[in-house]
Amino acid sequence: MPQGLEHSGTSWKGQQLKHRQSAVDRLDPRARVVAVSAFALVVVLSSDLMALSLALAGSLLLALVARLNLKRTLRRVIAMDLFMLFLILMLPFTTPGEPIFHVAGLPASQEGLVHALQITLKANAVVLALLALVGTQTATTLGHALAHLRVPDKLVHLMLFTVRYLEVIGQEYKRMRRAMQARAFVLRANRHSWRSIGYLIGMLLVHSLERSERIMDAMKCRGYQGRFYLFDDMRLTAVDVRFGVLLALFLSLLIGLHLL
């Protein structure tokens, strides 16, 4: 049962959210990671508006095939766009070039506008593809896929342990925060608040450190000697090969548009 790579702030409860089974789930997790990386690389390096629009259309199609939840996906894409909004709004006014219109006496250049458009297209195309192909895996599957792809062990373990303990640490934070509230603490913009929040974060770090030591002890007690074991055999199937060929053709098209 795949559970999407979901999270909301401090809680990984979102992992329980189910996503609908789709054709994407039949692809090998490794193939999905590699595909997204190749796609992102090509998209980020291209500057042709036509190619970028096509890329966005392609990732929209992927999102449809992956049967992404419309509301949840929109919320995430918009969150990212808001993050970039400032940059996009500023670019036409800060890039020198042919002015096409003026706002409050400031000229907006065509080059800047094109640049802003490019960035928007690139970011949305890559994020949609990521959500469709990688976002539909569990964090654990993603970790294992990365391990099978020979990503350094340390990074993979860092990710898997983060997934496992994010909620535990999040709960510790909430518990301490509630204990503070129970003693009438209200967050204000004053030294007392800042110091208290500083203590809270410091305490959280200390607790996490102690917990990591206990986890290490518990692992040693079960004979841990520096090795982890992966259970899932990941096998490439005909579906993956077909998807790979399709993607390669699509990417060639994107690159080809650029050379024209």
Partner: protein
């Protein structure tokens, strides 16, 4: 106690599983928590280890499996002297340690992976380890938990799964650090029934006298850095009940 110990010894004709002599340990700012402590654990015993908070009960268990290094004294476990880290690797495999907080113990994403972690470390093949993990889960009545996500289990479930992860290594001794902590009545009873059905010798740290009374065959109290035999808190169902009724 000595008499009882000797008679068990003679009856089984066996050396103690764990045997510590003159063990001492001190924390930098807390002073000594163990001072010249002697202790033996024999096959079939279930030893209750009680004492005030911070008396060093957990420290003693940590010393037994080499997670902390004793300042003085000897530890013999399963017939050999143990002092270096490499000696304790075997001890840890044969003495299963159940931690206070199951969240410390269950670090794998899924239950099956977690229970199979120990057997894999013991050098079993993947198929054997998975088999062993499934059997252990089934023997504890945890069938169907294999693919559950560890951090989404309830407190009682986490406790049972962490016990499974220890039992999967087929230990000869169990070291239980406050096993009944934070369990509701039902989960506590289930744990108690499970522990009673296990053949392993155990050391049980607990503040739950009623729990210990049903389980323990011998009582020890650690206080002021000394380990002494203590009287069992007699089975007192009435008192036990009375305590649980809210005032």
């Amino acid at each position: 106690m000595n008499h009882q110990e000797n008679s068990i010894n003679e009856a089984c004709g066996l050396a103690p599983l764990l045997d510590i002599r003159g063990l001492s340990y001190r924390y930098p700012r807390r002073g000594p928590v163990l001072d010249q402590v002697d202790f033996q654990l024999h096959a079939g015993e279930r030893v209750a280890l009680t004492g005030p908070n911070g008396a060093g009960k957990t420290t003693l268990l940590h010393l037994l499996v080499g997670l902390k290094k004793a300042k003085a004294g000897q530890i013999r476990a399963f017939g050999s002297e143990r002092s270096a880290e490499s000696d304790f690797v075997e001890v840890r495999a044969r003495a299963g340690f159940l931690f206070q907080d199951p969240d410390d113990q269950l670090f794998c994403p899924t239950v099956l992976e977690d229970v199979a972690f120990g057997p894999l470390n013991q050098g079993k093949s993947r198929a054997e380890a998975l088999d062993c993990a499934r059997q252990t889960l089934a023997s504890l009545g945890l069938d169907g938990f294999e693919e559950r996500i560890t951090h989404q289990l309830s407190g009682g479930e986490k406790r049972m799964v962490s016990l499974a992860s220890v039992l999967a290594m087929e230990p000869e001794v169990l070291l239980l650090d406050e096993p009944s902590n934070a369990l509701d009545t039902q989960a506590r009873q289930r744990l108690l029934d499970t522990l009673l059905s296990l053949p392993q010798a155990m050391i049980i740290i607990s503040h739950d006298d009623d729990f210990l009374a049903q389980l323990a065959t011998r009582w020890l109290r650690l206080e002021n850095a000394q380990l002494n035999p203590s009287e069992p808190v007699c089975e007192r169902p009435l008192n036990g009940l009375a305590e649980k009724v809210p005032a």
